[in-house]
């Protein structure tokens, strides 16, 4: 029976690289879209208009700013495929735990609408599956094996209970930073795909 199972596994056709990349990209797109909607919802409900214009005020910088992630087009053009993938993985892994924290924080609100809570919950779930997809992709494309455990847990510090206003601003910062990073993931993956198909025109 073990032999049969092995034979079955061997016969099972694996997904091609292109299809896998497509699915990962779709995943990232969807995560970005939902995170954008969540951020807008949060802004409407909790953030006064004046503060909306000023993103990332001092003291609420994005948690992933320390990550060595390319941030300009020219940089990205120069970066290698491997580095792109790893950047994506780093981003994904660094956001898994903060999203959980964000969920618990939002649940403490009295007037948080269910749509917002559902969206953030959905995003945190999908992010985990995105991580798994990227790991598989790395394995396929780079022939590397990687552990899926969070190695970036130390990145996020959970301070003691802040005040209400502070927690609102903190959550807002978290949401907007995540939105940005989700866009990064999506962009990197798309660039990667372009490079797979047409190496020379993906400027």
């Amino acid at each position: 029976t073990v032999g049969k199972i092995r034979a079955a596994i061997n016969r099972c056709p694996s997904i091609s690289r292109e299809k896998l990349l497509d699915r990962v990209i779709q995943h990232a797109e969807l995560i970005y879209r939902v995170s954008e909607e969540s951020c807008s919802l949060f802004e409407e409900m909790f953030i006064p208009f004046e503060l909306q214009l000023q993103r990332n005020q001092a003291g609420y910088a994005c948690i992933t700013k320390a990550l060595p992630i390319p941030s300009s087009r020219s940089e990205i053009q120069q970066i290698s495929d491997k580095w792109l993938l790893h950047s994506v993985l780093m981003l994904v892994q660094s956001w898994i735990e903060p999203l959980v924290y964000l969920q618990t924080s939002l649940n403490l609100y009295d007037v948080a609408p269910d749509t917002l809570l559902n969206k953030t919950k959905w995003v945190s779930e999908k992010l985990i599956s995105l991580e798994q997809g990227v790991v598989v992709l790395i394995k396929k494309m780079l022939d590397e094996g990687l552990l899926t455990t969070n190695s970036e847990q130390g990145l996020f510090q959970n301070d003691a209970q802040p005040e209400m206003l502070e927690s609102v601003m903190r959550d807002y910062t978290l949401l907007s930073c995540f939105k940005k990073d989700a866009h990064k993931m999506e962009t990197f993956l798309k660039l990667l795909k372009c490079r797979q198909t047409d190496e020379y025109n993906c400027a």
């Binding site: 990209i25 970005y32 879209r33 954008e36 214009l53 000023q54 993103r55 990332n56 910088a61 700013k65 941030s71 300009s72 087009r73 020219s74 940005k180 990073d181 866009h183 990064k184 962009t187 993956l189 798309k190 660039l191 795909k193 372009c194 025109n201 993906c202 400027a203």
Partner: protein, 617 residues
């Protein structure tokens, strides 16, 4: 030279200085520049971006502007690298200087001789300030889909936006309108670069424009307009509609004409006329006038219910129904008419059963008759006589409803032929009982004066006589042991004469004999009936028909039986009161011949009402 030259030079310098200062003193007040305002920053393709500002008042002095920025979480302040590419009061950041997902903190500084002014800092992220150029190369073509045209619109993204690599994702929107109209029709095209527009007006000229937007950013400007003209296709449609209209108008005319022709019958079909009341004597006008008395008096039909009493006697006579054996069924049928006549005022219903019990059913009777017939032949005459007596004896049974019918009673002792006389007696007795029970309703009805209220009495009166007949029967039996059977009936009317069956002659005819012997016993000897009221039994012919004779004179016939039964006249038979009508006689006998054999005894009267069954031949 000396001091003078130095003084001159000093004087000139002083003069110059004075001029200079006076010149300055004459101008308006100079001030430091106002704070410049940053209007917007835009990036067309997410790779470069430009910021514009609006200068304030320069304070009268030449003012210079400088833009400084620092990147997110970095203290290094940079100055704008390019002030010229994007025009005046702008700063252009090229690819190398543009970082995505990084916040820029930008400030503009205005400087003049007297001071500086700083604008408010602005935080921007290049990703969120993308405003692409409008789409390019918009083409519109008219295509055809099964005879109906549609517009095929296609375009290309702005050449600077790198959508192919996925660096920037654009969504498109287009708008269409007719040349002569003002409202645009918007269509959202998503990420596709072509679109179909349906529902076009034939022969119209359309304007089409398209614009785009990144997934988060600003809408571009509308592209340049494309014009297209849709060819005429409508006339093909129109001619068909004209045909349809003409045809339907034609049909409509025909229908109208048909309707007009048949309007009357249609009206009857759809709205049938309401039947008015058709009560005889009912006057609608009276009803409208509202006088109910008049209306209902008009409804009263004269001569209803019939008040004449004379008819009752006729009816009295008519009810006789003689049931005989099978052979005499004809008689039976005839007698039924009488019966019906009697009862018509009380809505007689003559069902075939005639109210007979099952025991006395006609069929059963017939069986019995059949048996008896046979046995008659077998047995002697006497037995047959008895039998016939029994038959006769049954007289008339009438049921509770007042109908009078003659029943052939079926007696259990009947079949006993020639048995002990006791049986005979008993049979006779029962026969008498039967007969008596039914007796003489007619007789009573014969009284003319008793008619109205007594009508019912007439019909139902027999019950009273029930007992009496029994005793009567007894006596009868005693006195006449063998043969005589008397029909007993009671009546209040003037006496009737009774006839008894004397014997049955050879031909099986019933010989009736007026009851004479007991005449003295009875008190109320019935008077001689008026001749015209009674019919005389002439005899019985071979067909078992009782022959009645109309005679004015009647002989004294004393009632046979029972004085006690009635105080009036005993059980006198009332002969059928034919009176004016011939019906009973007609019913009762079919022929008038007086048969010699029967002439002997038929000088009495027979009460047709209580006529017993005649023996079968």
């Amino acid at each position: 030279m000396g001091c003078g030259a130095m003084m001159k030079s000093v004087m000139e310098v002083l003069l110059l200085l004075m001029l200079f200062f006076t010149a300055h003193a004459k101008e308006k007040s100079y001030s430091p520049p106002e704070k410049p305002t940053q209007t917007r920053c835009r990036s067309p393709e997410k790779e470069t971006f430009t910021c514009w500002w609006e200068p304030g008042s320069d304070g009268g002095l030449p003012t210079t502007y400088a833009l400084y920025y620092c990147k997110e979480n970095s203290e290094t302040v940079y100055e704008c690298p390019d002030y010229h590419t994007a025009g005046e009061n702008s700063c252009f950041f090229n690819k190398n200087d543009t970082s995505i997902w990084v916040n820029y903190n930008i400030s503009v500084v205005a400087t003049n001789a007297l001071g500086r002014a700083f604008s408010d800092p602005v935080d921007i992220d290049v990703v969120y300030i993308v405003e692409p150029n409008p789409p390019e190369k918009l083409t519109v073509a008219v295509m055809e889909d099964k005879g109906w045209p549609f517009l095929l619109v296609s375009w290309e993204p702005p050449h600077k936006a790198d959508t192919r690599s996925g660096w920037i994702t654009l969504i498109y929107e287009l708008r269409v309108r007719l040349e002569e109209e003002e409202d645009w029709e918007m269509h959202h095209a998503g990420q596709q670069k072509m679109f179909n527009i349906f529902s076009l007006r034939s022969g119209g000229k359309y304007l089409v424009e398209v614009r785009c937007k990144p997934d988060h950013g600003f809408w571009s400007e509308w592209s340049s307009t494309s014009y297209v003209k849709v060819p005429d296709y409508f006339h093909r449609e129109k001619s068909m509609w004209i045909l349809v209209a003409v045809f339907s108008a034609f049909i409509f005319l025909i229908l109208t004409w048909l309707l007009h022709m048949n309007s009357h019958s249609l009206k009857h079909c759809i709205l049938p006329p309401v039947p008015g009341p058709k009560i005889k004597g009912f006057d609608k006008q009276l009803l409208k006038n509202g006088n109910s008395d008049e209306i209902f008096s008009a409804l009263v039909v004269p001569n209803f219910p019939p008040a004449s009493t004379s008819k009752y006697e006729e009816m009295l006579v008519e009810y006789l129904e003689v049931y005989v054996l099978e052979e005499q069924e004809l008689m039976l049928e005839e007698s039924k008419d009488l019966l019906d006549g009697c009862l018509k005022s009380e809505n007689s219903r003559s069902d075939s059963d005639s109210g007979r019990g099952s025991c006395d059913s006609h069929t059963l009777l017939m069986d019995k008759c059949g048996e008896t017939k046979e046995e008659e032949r077998q047995t002697n005459r006497e037995s047959s006589l008895i039998e016939t007596q029994g038959w006769k004896e049954e007289a008339i049974n009438h049921d509770t409803s007042g109908r009078v019918k003659t029943w052939p009673s079926v007696y259990s002792p009947l079949p006993q032929y020639g048995s002990n006389p006791l049986d005979k007696q008993s049979s006779l007795e029962t026969a008498k009982q039967h007969s008596l029970s039914t007796s003489s309703f007619l007789t009573q009805a014969g009284t003319k004066d008793a008619l109205g209220p007594s009508y019912t009495d007439f019909c139902f009166s027999n019950k009273q006589n029930h007992l009496h007949p029994q005793t009567l029967a007894h006596r009868e039996l005693q006195t006449r042991s063998d043969v005589n059977i008397s029909n007993i009936g009671r009546k209040r009317s003037p006496a009737t004469e009774y006839v008894e069956v004397q014997r049955v002659n050879k031909e099986d005819m019933v010989l009736l004999q007026p009851v004479v012997s007991r005449c003295g016993h009875i008190e109320g000897c019935p008077n001689l009936p008026k001749g015209e009221d009674y019919s005389k039994v002439k005899g019985v012919d071979c067909d078992n028909r009782l022959l009645l004779q109309r005679e004015g004179t009647g002989e004294d016939v004393c009632p046979l039986v029972d004085q006690e039964t009635n105080g009036e006249g005993g059980n006198c038979y009332t002969s059928s009161t034919v009176s004016t009508t011939q019906k009973p006689t007609a019913c009762m006998y079919t022929s008038m011949p007086l048969q010699e054999e029967t002439a002997l005894t038929l000088n009495g009267y027979v009460d047709t009402a209580t006529m017993s069954n005649l023996p079968s031949c």
